[in-house]
């Protein structure tokens, strides 16, 4: 049962990443990220209950409050304030992006069989999904031009790292976890302000304009 729930949630995270790639409305992307973080929280809770690792309850609580509620709320507010709701045409169009992401998932899954832990069973799927998420996150960061989408891609990568850390390893020391969580929230805050500044100056969230000379 435990492994079923873990697989369900991990695959759900992968599906949410695909939906992020597949559409351009910023609000939906932010909500998808919230759902993804919620699933990560469920993964942490499930492992905590099944293996009696009580410190994971704290991780789950942190994940859900920070990443599934606070960060999406903050980003939604930022989007609301700057009044830009859509991703502009990404560097690669959606069907092509999806094809690339399919390839990346296959690569991630193939690589996961190389890990000792990932040879079979739940570990295989968890590492496979996490590596795929990591690659998809990096890919999104490269191809999307909006600052908000890039933040979300960065956060997806961070979710992927957490999935491996929680699901496969013995878990990170608590202080490291706390540090990462605050790092993430600080990064989002700073990036949120940065986005507002970019929009204020360039009247667009297109970060490719940053490299243009201003006379």
């Amino acid at each position: 049962m435990t492994s079923n729930i873990l697989i369900l949630c991990a695959t759900g995270m992968l599906v949410s990443a695909y939906l992020m790639v597949g559409q351009k409305a910023l609000l939906t992307t932010i909500r998808l990220y919230g759902a993804q973080s919620l699933l990560l929280g469920i993964v942490a809770t499930t492992i905590a209950l099944a293996e009696g690792r009580h410190e994971l309850f704290v991780t789950a609580a942190l994940t859900v409050t920070l990443k599934a509620a606070l960060i999406p709320w903050f980003l939604l507010r930022t989007v609301d304030r700057i009044g830009i709701h859509r991703e502009i045409e990404p560097a690669l169009n959606v069907p092509a992006s999806l094809l690339v992401c399919l390839g990346l998932t296959v690569v991630g899954y193939r690589v996961s069989t190389g890990f000792l832990e990932g040879a079979r069973g739940v570990g295989h799927h968890l590492i496979g999904v996490a590596l795929s998420l990591l690659l998809i996150g990096l890919f999104l960061m490269v191809t999307r031009k909006k600052a908000i989408t890039q933040i979300l891609a960065l956060l997806t990568v961070e979710n992927a790292v957490f999935l491996v850390a929680i699901g496969v390893t013995e878990g990170m020391p608590f202080i490291v976890e706390l540090g990462i969580s605050f790092d993430v929230i600080l990064a989002v805050l700073v990036l949120g302000i940065l986005v507002q500044r970019i929009v204020g100056r360039f009247e667009s969230m297109d970060i490719s304009r940053l490299s243009k000379l201003k006379g």
């Binding site: 492994s3 991990a10 599906v15 939906l19 559409q23 998932t105 296959v106 496979g128």
Partner: protein, 315 residues
């Protein structure tokens, strides 16, 4: 002993009749739940039947330029939808006419119905019909392979393309989830929304020329012809939800035709279809309709997910 042929025919008639009887209820139920989410009263649950009865009583009005293709369209569409219901296991872990074929026949039958309706829409030469047909085909060209791939993914897990045998094997073996199942489910869920003309793809409640797909295709129909199209669409929707429920949540399906097991199966089936209907309603109420040019992107996501579901089995 009753010969197998008669038994299968009887079961097929019962199942098709049952699905035909329940389908309008499902459609109204979704409409009602949607209305409730928007703080409206919504139609009474029997509204679907009233609408059909009203339409069936009326006289069909057909364009002077319409040929037999226009008349045949709704009939073939309706027949295909009814035929498809006999290929899917609903209450018992066996489809009445499973000897005839499995996944490929099911998808092919549904494609035949769609083809008939699209050609009929082109027949009168009205711009709306042609527009609707071309839009419907654009989406179908992506949705159909995704549907096939998604169904293949679950067939691959069990080793049979026959839907009845597939569900039987699923029931007998230990429930062990694979990422592939969930990916296929997610892919097929998007397909169901696209195929039944629900909101991110098409809006069943409006006749706005810029956005309508299915409604544009059947705009020329009236009276009994329209009733057939509406009824068949409702049956198709119920069919897709049943397929999703029974392939991915095969709990409660009866293995043998015993009264108690059948009663449990009926309750389980109604519950599962209701849950899926709630999911469809929530998706419809919380999303905005996509621009037509964005729809292929959404459908290609489901194609990607279905492909991935298949690929992950080999990794």
């Amino acid at each position: 002993m009753i010969p197998d042929v008669l038994l299968a025919t009887g079961a097929a008639l019962l199942q098709a009749g049952g699905m035909l009887a329940v389908a309008p209820l499902l459609k109204t139920l979704i409409k009602k739940m949607k209305a409730r989410l928007q703080n409206r009263q919504g139609p009474p649950l029997w509204q679907g039947y009233y609408d059909l009865a009203k339409l069936l009583r009326k006289e069909p009005v057909r364009s002077e330029t319409a040929s037999w293709v226009f008349v045949a369209g709704p009939r073939v569409y309706f027949a295909a939808a009814v035929a498809a219901t006999t290929l899917v296991p609903v209450l018992i872990a066996a489809a009445p006419l499973e000897a005839a074929g499995g996944i490929l026949l099911l998808v092919g039958t549904l494609a035949l119905g769609r083809f008939a309706l699209a050609t009929a829409a082109l027949d009168t030469g009205s711009p709306f019909g042609g527009m609707g047909a071309s839009r419907d085909m654009t989406i179908a060209a992506l949705a159909e392979p995704a549907l096939l791939l998604g169904l293949f993914a679950s067939a691959l897990a069990v080793g049979t393309m026959n839907l009845g045998a597939l569900v039987r094997t699923l029931l007998e073996q230990e429930p062990a989830w694979h990422p592939s199942d969930f990916l296929a489910f997610a892919g097929l869920f998007i397909i169901v929304i696209a195929e039944t003309g629900r909101i991110p793809v098409d809006n069943p409640a409006t006749h706005l020329e810029l956005t309508m797909i299915h409604e544009a295709m059947v705009l020329e129909y009236s009276g009994p012809d329209l009733a057939l199209v509406e009824w068949a669409s409702a049956v198709k929707e119920l069919l897709y939800l049943t397929l999703l429920a029974n392939l991915f949540m095969p709990i409660g399906i009866a293995l043998r035709a015993e009264p108690v097991a059948l009663a449990i199966a009926l309750v389980a089936w109604a519950g599962k279809v209701f849950l899926l209907a709630v999911a469809v309603t929530v998706v419809e109420s919380t999303n905005a309709k996509l621009r037509l040019f964005r729809v292929p992107e959404l459908v290609s996501v489901s194609l990607g997910l279905a492909f991935l579901a298949l690929a992950i089995r080999f990794l």
